[in-house]
């Protein structure tokens, strides 16, 4: 019993930085996992990855002007992310180019620009901070920001839920009954950017998309309805955060990657063992019904 306490509870009970890390990452799970579910269902998983890269130059400009400060870097990232999301969305809607190609173009440009700007001033340690985050060093400002983003995301999702589902399921139908089609797409992109920016304090620009996509991808193997899928993704995300933080505490591993790898383990298990995973769908069932 004492052993369990030492392993599971004590790190969070004894250290303030662990409590902050736990709170921040749990808030992020609640917020970004449902967004990830929709990102996946819209076949935009890689677009999320692209946008995570796109945040970098904005954050880098904030870093260049103000140093390693949360607020300027966040605002910079937000602006860059929105510019890239809107730009790529506009290019794909107004020209023949598909969204994946315009996303790739925009994010490659911004990644190069971002690394260039960070290297203008910082060392490679700073670059690592920006790219991979520091969940164990979340301050009050960062936590407040993550809380705000979580609130905005949950409100936004609950208002636009029906339109988001309709736009994923049958976009042409939504266009025939409502003018919400395009606005909903951009609202959704804004939520994605917001969550990536929120995640980047904790997990860095490259890994924040991991907490968004991996729980969503894992949840897809267990359920066939959207609402349970979102709840399950949140649960998987939260469990991965706890597991990752404990792992990083006990084994002195880097915290961000530990969280994402924990989610990766859940994903791998889901592929094999999920109710819609390999075992359940590929193995020949022992018996079948008459009709």
């Amino acid at each position: 019993m004492d052993m369990l306490y030492q392993w599971l509870i004590a790190p969070f009970a004894e250290f303030g930085f662990m409590q902050r890390a736990l709170l921040g990452s749990l808030l992020l799970s609640v917020s970004s996992c449902p967004v990830g579910v929709f990102l996946m269902l819209r076949r935009m998983s890689l677009a999320g990855d692209a946008m995570a890269h796109a945040i970098l130059p904005g954050a880098a400009v904030g870093f260049l002007l103000f140093g390693l400060e949360i607020v300027p870097m966040t605002i910079g990232g937000l602006i860059a992310g929105i510019v890239v999301a809107l730009g790529a969305g506009a290019v794909s809607r107004l020209t023949v180019q598909r969204e994946d190609a315009s996303m790739a173009a925009f994010y490659l440009i911004s990644l190069a620009l971002g690394v260039l700007i960070v290297s203008l001033r910082g060392s490679s340690v700073d670059l690592m901070h920006v790219l991979f985050g520091t969940v164990l060093a979340l301050n009050d400002e960062a936590l407040g920001l993550i809380g705000l983003i979580t609130a905005i995301t949950l409100i936004g999702l609950s208002i636009f839920w029906r339109a988001l589902v309709a736009e994923c399921l049958d976009p042409l139908f939504l266009r025939s009954v409502s003018r919400l089609g395009s606005p909903v797409h951009f609202v959704f992109l804004a939520l994605v950017v917001l969550n990536l920016v929120g995640g980047f304090q904790a997990l860095g620009t490259l890994l924040s998309v991991g907490l968004m996509m991996l729980p969503a991808a894992a949840a897809r193997f267990w359920t066939v309805r959207v609402e349970p899928m979102c709840l399950l993704a949140i649960a998987i995300g939260a469990a991965s955060c706890v597991a990752g933080l404990l792992l990083s505490y006990h084994a002195s591993l880097s915290s961000g990657p530990s969280i994402i790898l924990s989610a990766g383990v859940v994903y791998a298990v889901s592929i094999v063992a999920g109710t819609r995973g390999i075992v359940a769908t590929r193995l020949r069932p022992a018996s079948h019904r008459t009709a």
Binding site: P171, L172, F173, V177
Partner: protein
């Protein structure tokens, strides 16, 4: 006299400045049931998209009567069948015109959805996911969604594709019931026998309108022959269609009254239709670039 539900005036739709529906004028009466027929590429689906408004006209216009709720069942649905949704979720989308983004779905709405699913013969399929439906079952589910939409103007683009004979009979009965409820229905159909048997009116398209009126007359052999003589491919060097060659001197005016037209021996008056077959403006006047008037 029934008023017009849709009024076309020189309605021209197309892609890359090549027309796919060329100078369509006339009106569709409220409560009418019209089959839209024509060869591949004759502009049937394009016309549907133009009426719904997902495709903007290149010239002319199409006025749908005020406060008309439109239900549109496209030929190539952009439906994502891998999306985790059940039949009941898909059919419930049809509640959008009534409840919109935020309105609660009330018990009577759920009843309407259940009834629609029964009406298309999908009772017992409510909880099935979309990826387990056959093509015809999915089409029937989409029909159920149209039912739930409770629209005044219903546009169906080749709704009978991949549907077995018995279901076609059921769906035709459904369509006729809609007409009885004073809804306006336009259906793109390829089966001409089906049109002759069940549709009071037909519109024959071959990019330009060939004939429009009583179904049997519209599908008369000479009209079908003329409809076949159009070139499906674009002519890249086709001259620009100019307003003068269209409106001037070709023997049709867009507001003239057809009330007096006796169509064959049917004694069926077709007041609104302007089934004009205007001569090809081809060689005429290549100097005028299309003014995109109206």
């Amino acid at each position: 006299m029934a008023e017009a539900c849709i009024t076309f005036s020189d309605f021209t739709l197309g892609y890359n400045s090549h027309p796919a529906v060329h100078h369509l004028s006339g009106a569709v009466k409220r409560g009418s049931l019209t089959a839209v027929v024509g060869a591949n590429g004759s502009g049937k689906s394009t016309l549907m998209k133009g009426i719904v408004g997902v495709l903007k006209p290149m010239a002319g216009g199409c006025a749908v009567a005020h406060d008309t709720r439109i239900a549109y069942l496209p030929q190539q649905s952009e439906l994502d069948r891998s999306f985790p949704a059940r039949v009941v979720d898909l059919v419930s989308l049809g509640l959008w015109p009534r409840r919109g983004l935020l309105g609660r779905h009330r018990p009577e709405d759920r009843d309407a959805v259940a009834k629609a699913i029964q009406a298309v013969g999908l009772g017992g399929f409510e909880k099935r996911t979309l990826d387990t439906l056959s093509g015809g079952q999915l089409q029937r589910a989409l029909f159920a969604r149209v039912l739930v939409q409770d629209a005044d103007l219903i546009l169906l683009d080749e709704p009978f594709n991949a549907i077995d004979a018995k279901t076609v009979t059921d769906l035709v009965a459904l369509i006729k019931r809609w007409q009885g409820e004073n809804r306006t229905v336009m259906v793109v159909v390829h089966d001409l026998d089906l049109v002759r048997a069940h549709f009071p009116e037909a519109m024959l398209l071959a990019r330009r309108p060939i004939a429009w009126g009583d179904a049997r007359e519209t599908l008369a052999p000479e009209n079908l022959l003329r409809a076949r003589q159009f070139h499906e491919a674009w002519d890249e060097n086709a001259p620009w269609c100019s307003p003068e060659t269209e409106t001037g001197g070709h023997g049709h005016s867009h507001d003239h009254d057809h009330a007096g037209h006796a169509h064959g021996g049917q004694g069926h008056a077709h007041d609104h239709h302007n089934a004009h077959a205007h001569p090809k403006p081809a060689q005429a006047d290549a100097r005028h670039v299309h003014g995109n008037a109206a």
